[in-house]
């Protein structure tokens, strides 16, 4: 775990992630400017750090209703604006980028942040980047596998010799600058079904598992499959961290939390995926067994501890700003995390 800068004795890490979505507030129909949204993301990371949150990450989606397409640039601003919170992408779509440039950017952010930077590399669940950046969706899988491998190789080797299908070969290439401590944690982003988790396990890389909604036990299958695949391929699963990521929203009561956030989640899904979030499913999300962490602080604490017992994961990453949630409400959430949720989670998951 040390290689990935994770100290299990300190308990479950708690993080925030944003997709950088840029969606009107459903109650007013108004949308803040892209500039304001980006500045609020930077402000959010600062507040998260003050509240003791361990981790903050930013995603890239290349289509309408998003603002952080240049997510590494936003992360560079965060590196300068914060001092101790860990920073990452969530995710970097390495498939349609040059892994050499990705590494140069993130190693630079790691230097600016003094060794706090990580990369979560994914394949994209929204595929606007393929057309925009000149790639074919037909190569979806192969682009990712090849470029992710190259990214890992650059992380491990200071002098790289490589050739592949989607990029010019590298001959005795030095990819510079190097990160502060020689390498960075690089995670594989994984969606729901076990097939993708198994690939992460075979490669022996940390897994970032998206768990938006549904029973926690369903995601447990992906986690088991990941560890089993790692073991079978000669990696030690106890050395491989797992992060889960999903919807989060806290308010004084579970009912209030649902009432405040449902319109945002529903409209956000409608705009970016073309279908809203069914109320019936959302209502079931309040059940302790559902992986969605929306509710009162006490309810959320119980859920996260239940998930931790089930998954044995090292980091939970909350998405609470989806669908144009006003900044005041985000601030209130950070306060509840810092004063109530975080202390309880650390207390019960730290290994003393």
């Amino acid at each position: 775990m040390e290689k990935y800068r994770i100290d299990p004795s300190k308990g479950l890490e708690f993080g925030l992630y944003t997709l950088g979505d840029h969606i009107p507030n459903p109650s007013t129909g108004e949308r803040i400017s892209a500039q304001q949204r980006i500045k609020e993301i930077i402000e959010l990371a600062k507040l998260a750090e003050e509240a003791g949150i361990d981790f903050f990450s930013v995603g890239e989606s290349h289509q309408e209703y998003f603002t952080t397409q240049a997510h590494s640039v936003v992360l560079a601003a965060l590196a300068q604006a914060t001092e101790k919170i860990k920073l990452s992408s969530s995710s970097t779509i390495v498939s349609t980028l040059d892994p050499v440039r990705v590494y140069e950017d993130f190693a630079t952010i790691d230097l600016i942040s003094e060794g706090r930077t990580e990369i979560i590399a994914g394949r994209a669940s929204r595929v606007g980047n393929f057309d925009l950046l000149g790639y074919s969706l037909r190569d979806y899988e192969e682009l990712y596998e090849e470029k992710f491998d190259l990214l890992l190789k650059i992380n491990e080797e200071e002098v790289v010799n490589w050739d592949g299908q989607f990029r010019a070969p590298l001959k005795n290439a030095k990819v510079l600058p190097r990160p502060l401590n020689g390498s960075m944690p690089i995670w594989r982003a994984v969606g729901g079904p076990p097939a993708s988790a198994i690939k992460a396990g075979y490669a022996g890389v940390p897994m970032f598992l998206a768990t938006l909604g549904g029973p926690a036990t369903s995601f447990k299958r992906s986690i088991d499959a990941y560890r089993q695949a790692a073991q079978m391929n000669g990696h030690d699963p106890s050395e491989l961290p797992i992060a889960t990521a999903g919807f989060f929203y806290a308010a004084e009561t579970t009912q209030q939390a649902q009432r405040e956030v449902y319109p945002h989640v529903n409209q956000g899904m409608q705009l970016i995926n073309g279908q809203g979030y069914p109320k019936q499913h959302f209502a079931q999300g309040a059940d302790k067994r559902d992986v969605m962490n929306i509710g009162s602080p006490q309810q959320i604490i119980e859920k996260i501890l239940y998930q931790h017992e089930l998954f044995g994961h090292q980091r939970y990453i909350a998405q609470m700003d989806f669908g144009g949630v006003p900044f005041d409400q985000l601030k209130k959430n950070i306060e509840l995390i810092g004063t109530e949720i975080l202390p309880a989670i650390k207390k019960y998951t730290a290994q003393n």
């Binding site: 595929v127 009432r259 073309g274 279908q275 069914p278 109320k279």
Partner: protein
């Protein structure tokens, strides 16, 4: 209420003829409804390539989005080679999983042989169920002998079309009421 009629074939005229009767019956009985007939013979729809339905262009985008915006869909289909035509299956394939959630879907079928009667039960209903449709269980099955020169000559078929239209509207209204009542209980 938005009702879309979907005539699922590029071949022949019987399904379109039956759909014209159906849409006419709907317009007469429910003048306030917003009715749209999509005859796939009149559109150039590409094969599904897996993208988000809103990212298609031209006719493909129009067909996918119009179906997604409907409250109820009346599908008309012939039976080819003991199944539905590829054109109709392609419309299903263009749409996301769960595309028919909160929608009522009903069907009329034209066929050259009575042996095809159960094909809707065995092949179409499983697709609609998977896509979360509320299905009008009874469908109108129309044979070759019920048509004469683009007219339906069997009064029983005409009565059944009227009942199909009525069932589609009644169920759509009822499911909307049920859903609204259920959602009101959630208080969020």
């Amino acid at each position: 209420m938005k009702i879309v009629g979907l005539s699922g074939s590029k071949v022949g005229s019987k399904t379109r003829t039956a759909m014209d009767y159906t849409m006419k019956a709907a317009a007469e009985k429910y003048p306030d409804a917003e009715l749209t007939l999509i005859d796939l013979a009149e559109y150039d729809v590409q094969f599904s390539d897996g993208r988000d339905y809103r990212e298609y262009e031209g006719d493909t985008k129009y067909v996918a989005e119009t179906v997604m915006e409907a409250d109820a869909i009346i599908i008309g289909t012939p039976i080819f080679q003991a199944s539905i035509p590829a054109t109709l299956k392609n419309v299903f394939d263009l749409l996301p999983a769960g595309a028919f959630r909160d929608k009522v879907v009903s069907m009329l079928v034209t066929a050259g042989s009575p042996k095809h009667y159960l094909i809707v039960e065995q092949q179409v209903k499983p697709i609609l169920g998977y896509m979360k449709a509320q299905i009008v269980q009874t469908y109108v099955f129309i044979e070759e002998q019920d048509f004469y020169r683009k007219e339906i000559t069997n009064d029983d078929v005409l009565f059944r079309i009227d009942r199909l239209v009525e069932d589609t509207f009644v169920l759509a209204e009822t499911y909307t009421k049920i859903r609204e009542a259920k959602e009101a209980e959630y208080d969020f």
